[in-house]
């Protein structure tokens, strides 16, 4: 009956306390303690005790987010007095005041490839099924990490790249797909149909996280089963001629694990793309920055 949320000692103590109400029936005592455990689970919004594998990596961006949210409170608890930056900005106050939960999703590695998509595209599909149906999504962001290109480029080389984020409206049913069609071109059944969600021009000489608003697509996927979640398609192009970037530039935006770089598995968990959802479970709390 136990969900595992109570320690062995805690459960034993609660069972002995429950005996005062049950007249010694072990089954009733178990039922009482289990009911209490369920209330604890409900309080946390869990269905069972989380049991993370040892060494599970927590994305650094979520740690930064926690620190940014805690603000002065975190600083005072950890005795931080000097200037202190988390390296991560929270979403706008308008969003934060309406939500009380932020979740991070990692994309499904096996779904990265769709037949027929060009080399400078990648699919990022996130399994959103663990999102509780009782929570309302107020915003969702796609976070892509990019690192500065340190290699010397020719003087006349353009450092500007463009990242395009598309929603995949329709994915090919067969594995023989050959093309990606944009917008309303729905002529070929075996093609991928996409819709542009966001686009941004970036300078490849900076390291930072890029954030893209994917709220509409995320809402669609979660609100109706008819809107199948085919994921997002990310395209990286050089802005001057619309060509795909080459060499180092191609690795500049961390979309997938690059076996040619010296980045470790652990580090990859911190830099891989993330989908952040901001939801509200109906309780009167918010993720607004906390003050002492």
């Amino acid at each position: 009956l136990s969900s595992g949320l109570l320690s062995q000692m805690g459960r034993a103590n609660l069972l002995s306390q429950a005996a005062e109400y049950t007249g010694g029936s072990r089954e009733e005592e178990d039922a009482l303690v289990s009911e209490y455990e369920n209330r604890l689970l409900n309080m946390f919004g869990l269905t069972r005790r989380p049991n993370p594998a040892p060494g599970t990596q927590v994305p650094r961006i979520m740690q930064h987010m926690y620190k940014a949210h805690m603000g002065d409170t975190y600083r005072s608890q950890h005795g931080i007095t000097d200037t202190w930056e988390t390296g991560f900005d929270l979403p706008s106050d308008e969003i934060l005041s309406r939500v009380n939960t932020a979740r991070s999703f990692m994309h499904i590695d096996d779904d990265e490839y769709i037949p027929g998509i060009p080399d400078n595209h990648i699919r990022l599909r996130f399994d959103l099924s663990p999102l509780p149906s009782s929570e309302v999504i107020h915003a969702a962001e796609l976070l892509l990490h990019r690192e500065a290109v340190t290699r010397h480029l020719p003087v006349d080389s353009d450092h500007a790249h463009r990242i395009n984020v598309y929603e995949i409206v329709k994915a090919p049913r067969s594995r023989n797909a050959t093309q990606v069609h944009r917008g309303s071109d729905r002529s070929a059944a075996a093609t991928t149909i996409t819709r542009l969600l966001d686009t941004r021009l970036i300078d490849s000489r900076n390291s930072t996280w890029e954030r893209f608003d994917v709220s509409l697509a995320t809402l669609k996927w979660t609100q109706s089963e008819q809107n199948a979640n085919h994921g997002l398609l990310i395209e990286i192009v050089r802005d001057d001629d619309g060509q795909a970037p080459h060499g180092d530039s191609k690795r500049h935006v961390r979309l997938k694990r690059d076996l040619h770089t010296d980045i470790s598995d652990d580090e990859w968990q911190h830099r891989r793309p993330l989908l952040l959802t901001y939801t509200n479970d109906g309780k009167a709390t918010s993720l607004s920055r906390r003050k002492r």
Binding site: L5, L6, S7, G10, M43, F44, G45, L46, T47, R48, R49, P50, N51, P52, A53, T56, V58, P59, M62, Q63, M65, Y66, H69, M70, Q77, N100, T101, A102, R103, S104, F105, P130, K283, A284, T285, S286, L287, R290
Partner: protein
């Protein structure tokens, strides 16, 4: 004087007030999935709610009248010492699907106690 001081300290302690209670997530075995904080000051309320109910005891009109009734009828129970103001805490944790969640939970910290 010392006797008097001790007596008044005891009396103060028995009156309804807030006490420290640190919830250590390691103690309850939740440190494996709650990443931050390691614990938090939850506090609790305890103490007497009996005549005279002073200003700082955060009483309601009802508690004052209940106390008055108790003074003339002994079977009327005294008002209860309970949290009157609560605050939220935020936690960073791994849920049952191994997703990292930052969530704010309401009514987790006692900010003030009173007789109700």
């Amino acid at each position: 004087n010392a006797k008097k001081k001790n007596r008044s300290r005891k009396r103060r302690r028995r009156n309804c007030q807030r006490y420290g209670l640190y919830v250590d997530f390691e103690t309850v075995g939740w440190h494996t999935w709650i990443l931050a904080p390691h614990g938090y000051e939850a506090h609790y309320c305890e103490g007497r709610c009996q005549y005279p109910l002073s200003e700082h005891m955060n009483t309601t009109n009802h508690a004052i009248v209940q106390t008055l009734m108790g003074s003339v009828k002994s079977d009327v129970p005294k008002a209860c010492c309970v949290p009157t103001e609560l605050d939220a805490i935020s936690m960073l944790y791994l849920n049952e699907y191994d997703l990292v969640v930052l969530k704010t939970y309401q009514e987790m910290v006692v900010k003030a106690c009173g007789c109700r």
